[in-house]
Structures are given as structure tokens and as C-alpha cells.
Subunit: 208 residues, 2 copies
Amino acid sequence: MKLQVALDTLTLEDCLTLLEETKGSVDIAEVGTPFIIEEGMRPVREFKKHFPDIEVLADAKIMDAGELEAETAFKAGADIVTVLGASNDETILGAVKAAKKYHGKIMIDMIAVKNLEERTKEIDAMGVDYICVHTAFDVQSSGKDPLDELKIVNRVIQHAQSAVAGGVKLSTIDAIVEEGAGIIVVGGAICNAQARAEAAKEMKRHLR
Amino acid sequence: MKLQVALDTLTLEDCLTLLEETKGSVDIAEVGTPFIIEEGMRPVREFKKHFPDIEVLADAKIMDAGELEAETAFKAGADIVTVLGASNDETILGAVKAAKKYHGKIMIDMIAVKNLEERTKEIDAMGVDYICVHTAFDVQSSGKDPLDELKIVNRVIQHAQSAVAGGVKLSTIDAIVEEGAGIIVVGGAICNAQARAEAAKEMKRHLR
């Protein structure tokens, strides 16, 4: 199990500080979508330069031009790039093609996918590396939780590994670990913690 | 009817040259998604600085964190920001809230939306400015055409204006103009033309 920290709202400088503080606990540093919209691929390049041993995920949430957009992220140094499960099959397949070329990985973000079980089966057959259930930030306040969706994906996948994102915190991580996932994504519970290094270490301790 | 040129794959320098060449023909300059993934909001700022009279659309294809991400684009100077029709309602409503705050506009990109008629009705009631039918770049080679989808949207909308994107060219523009749309988006047919200024002028001449 890998711990991914989602870096969304901090400055680049503060992200680098956080990655230094949490060294040894964080396996994957996520350049979040809001960060990409503001800065493009610069944070990907900076993370890779300063922390060559940490995997970098570019949360580009690709919806079209899969090959071209994934290639842009891999060229910048991303190890993993996200594509939306809601996109056309051709877009996912294009991104997988780019991943093969650059020896990178594709994570499919299942955010807002309605027919989760059916779509997971389809996508699992396309050669992607991770299928990530994701409770949208915009609906987290409704109390929605990604655990039930994780169970569906785990039951269905035969090739890809599962991943889980969206409001994961210390009080919910054990149930997720019990259910099983290749990657657990944590955002606010680390980034907004009083003691970020301790929070990350504690999270990592709960993983298997 | 407004003519929007989608700037996706050119360098920033070349985009500025194109906007200079096509002055008077282009109403809206689109900073395309691949461009945002590479450069973030820099092209939005540059377009606005050099061409204050041309509207700038940031094709962020927002899927989550609607208010935050739309705000980022409006702050950078975007006049219009795109949000995916496949996103959760909360995301669209968050982006509309940001648009009101910054006196900007929201365009919903209906790319890969399966239940187009039903979803258009729902989104039309949310206070968005444009609902854009969009044949994905990744499926254009299959011969798919956005005209049929435009007819569905035009039949259903009561508040928003329609827009159309995806492989629009001189041979297909008249049927689209006949059907009617608030914005017609053209990419390759202008950007990859031998004579870009002429191509844009010719396109504009076909609009009403």
C-alpha cells in the first residue's frame, strides 16, 4: 500500500517544505488539479528535481486528447497521470499508449461516474494501472464516503489495482486498509494538520 | 454568433501572432486544455494583456472544486471558464457562484455526456451561460459530428445559450449556423490553415 499526499492549495514553496518534512512517510506526491490549472507542469518538474525518490502524480483529470495530454505530463517527469473514468474509451486508450511510451502509469479517476461497476469492468480491460474511487471535494460535506465504492471496484478488478481518494482521514483509514487498496490518497488530513510530519507518519503507520 | 478559436498546440508566441493576424475575426480566444496543463494560467494572462478587447476562455474542463478552480481562472483574467457536464451538480453550482463574484461566465462542456437531453435540462436550470456540445478530439476520426447533439440542446435550453465544438470546418459551418448557436468553436481549421487570417475571416463571414 502506498500513501499519496494530494497537494492542492499550498504554494509551491510550502509543498516542497511539506515533502521535506514528511520524507519517509509519503510514497507519492500528487500535483493537484487546482495547482496544475494555476501553474501547469512547473510543480511536477520541481517535485521531481527536489525529490527524485518520490513518485509524482499529475492529477490532470484528462477528459480528451488522452495521448497528447498524458505525454505532456510524462515528459515533465510525472510517474503517474490521471484520466477521468467519465471520458471516452479512446481517451483512456490514448493515455495508456503514452504511458507505455514513457514507462509511466495511468490512474483512472472514477469521480462522478454513475455506473461504477460496469464502467470499472470496461476500464479494467484497457490496461490501466490504477482505478481510483473518488468522493468529489464538492460533495464531501454531504457525508459521502468512498468505502462503499472501493468495495465495488475491489470486487470487479482483475488487472488494475484500486486506489481511494476524497476526505480520507485517521478515523476512516483503518476500514479502507482493511478493505484493501494499492494507493490511499490523503489531502487535508496531512496538509492542514498542525503537525504535518506526525500526521503523515501516523497515516503511513496504519497502512499495510 | 461569436467565433471562438481554440488554441491548443501552438506555442504561446505563435498564439499571440495568430491573434494579431486574425484580429477582427476572432471574438473569443480559447486557452485550450493541453495548453493549461503545460502552462497553467500564464497564457490567459498574456492573451488578456496583449488583447484586452478579445474575450478569453480558459478551457479548464473543471470536474471538482468548482468554485476554487473557476475562481483561479477568473482571477487570472478569464472571461469564460469551462466546467464538465459530467461533473456533480455541486461543482457546476460552485463555478456559477465564482462567475457571479467575478462577473464572468460559465460554459458547460457536454463532452462524453451520455444522457444529453436530460442532463442539458438539469444544467440549464443552474444559471450557466453556455452549454457546449463537443465531439471529443479522440473520437473525431470516427466521423462523429456535433450537429445532431446541437439540435438536442437547442430544443431543450430555456436560459443558457448553446455552443458547439469539435472538428468544425468550412464545409460543416453553414449547417451549424443554420441550426443556431451562441458560440462556434473552431480549432484546426484556423490554426492549421495555410493562411490563418483568411481562414478566420472566411469562417466569421459565414456566421450571423
